[in-house]
């Protein structure tokens, strides 16, 4: 027996949820599918496949005011921004949920990032397991699975006419009203098979090939746009500036990418990663080497967005494969 909810009951529950909280779910915007605040629950897209941008922006917004300076009464006071709004993210896939768990590592490590923590505390995640896999996905090689419920508060799995419901956390339990779920004799569909990537021992291999000319060759075709970083559910680099805006001074944080020109430029104009090869290598070294050494997990969840979105097909799956191969070749 499984806890079960019909599709109609799910939608009317979501409708209720949206009255007291921000309900965020995948919706269609022209040709794109994006996580957005839902106006009508009928707009929610249940289709398989990943949204064009990841839901990280609800924890690490594209741009966010960290604090502003209050200069009234002749005093100078820094007023920190606060997150008031309770949010429910519906339809988050296991890879994206894992992505948020990965973001937690740098952002919640003490001293934790105050705003990130507030976003995290105010948000409940309702996951949707994948019943089919996209051709660009490789989650099972990156420490998660298409039905991994460990990083959400409630997990749903689509079965005919409705969904099997797993209540994972207390937070998830608190969101569900009594009597909403019924018991039903259904078993979840088998998890789809996901293409695998030889990620075993990748950090060690990255060490070995760090100075390989491979990176310069790979970077030949890289345009150094920020698409990969911005679609990525785990990239968390940002830029910070103090700005005058609407008559007051604010400290703003915005997405930034290691691929953008000037990201590492320092006073005096020197840029230690000005060359294309080292700049591109940074992305993979961070994902597959530095992060692994610091936090013990890869900084990639295998969602495949960068694979799909890169204008020149720089494919992390291929890079992993190549890097594994490079080590072998140099030994031979």
């Amino acid at each position: 027996m499984s806890d079960y909810i019909s599709r109609a009951d799910l939608l009317s529950w979501l409708e209720k949820v949206s009255q007291s909280r921000d309900l965020v779910a995948p919706v269609k915007i022209e040709d794109l599918t994006l996580f957005q605040k839902v106006e009508r629950v009928e707009d929610i897209v249940f289709d398989p496949g990943n949204t064009d941008l990841s839901p990280k922006e609800f924890f690490f917004p594209k741009s966010e005011v960290l604090f502003y300076v209050d200069r009234s009464d002749g005093r100078v006071e820094l007023v920190p921004a606060e997150v008031e709004q309770e949010t429910v993210i519906f339809g988050i896939r296991p890879c994206d949920a894992k992505g948020i768990a990965v973001l937690d590592l740098p952002y919640l490590e003490e001293p934790a990032d105050a705003l990130y923590r507030q976003h995290r505390e105010k948000t409940t995640l309702v996951g949707l397991s994948c019943v089919s896999a996209c051709p660009e996905c490789f989650c099972t090689s990156m420490g998660t699975t298409p039905d991994d419920a460990s990083n959400v508060d409630i997990m749903l799995t689509e079965v005919e006419e409705g969904f099997i419901v797993q209540v994972v956390t207390e937070k998830g339990k608190a969101l569900l009203p009594e009597g909403l779920l019924s018991s039903k004799e259904v078993s979840p569909p088998a998890a789809p098979s996901v293409a695998s990537v030889p990620s075993e021992g990748i950090a060690e291999k990255m060490h070995q090939v760090f100075d390989s000319p491979y990176w310069d060759r790979l970077a030949d075709r890289c345009l150094h746009c920020n698409v990969c970083s911005y679609v990525c559910p785990t990239c968390y680099c940002f830029d910070v500036r103090d700005l005058r805006s609407g008559g007051r001074v604010e400290r703003v944080r915005s997405w930034e990418s290691c691929q953008s020109p000037g990201f590492t430029k320092i006073a005096g104009g020197y840029d230690p990663r000005a060359a294309k090869g080292p700049r591109l290598r940074q992305r993979f070294a961070h994902k597959l080497l530095y992060f692994v050494e610091k936090f013990g997990v890869t900084h990639c969840v295998g969602c495949g967005r960068c694979v799909r979105s890169c204008p020149v097909n720089i494919d992390i799956r291929e890079v992993i494969q190549d890097v594994q191969g490079l080590g072998v070749k140099s030994e031979a």
Binding site: R241, L243, R244, V249
Partner: protein, 142 residues
Amino acid sequence: MAVGHEPRIVGFLCNWCSYAGADVAGTSRITYPPNIRIIRVPCSGRVDPLLIVKSFQMGADGVLVAGCHPGDCHYSEGNYHARRRLAVLRPFLEYLGIERERLRVEWVSASEGRRFSQVVSSFTEQLRKLEPRKGAEVEVSS
């Protein structure tokens, strides 16, 4: 506040002709509306379209570019270059939804104080007939 408001105009005036023309208006006690904020530039050819676009982004209702009459440029040809750029910028801004009338280009010589006053007056009147533009929340380096 809609029609009949006080428009805000950013005026880029070339140092050699139009700025001097504005000066002549002042010293001759010829009045013109205070709606214009004048920025002195070396030449109308120095007016990068970015300056104009930035002005509109920051909520200007109108932008005036004024320079020497064609043939009179202090640098021989700066205003000819300006003329080409602005001839393309104006329809482009209109395409983006900024009315054609909001960008005005005038040749004002150093002796044309009265003409400068007339240009600013008629531009201000023209802009009064349009809806005020909203000043965007724009970042400024602090």
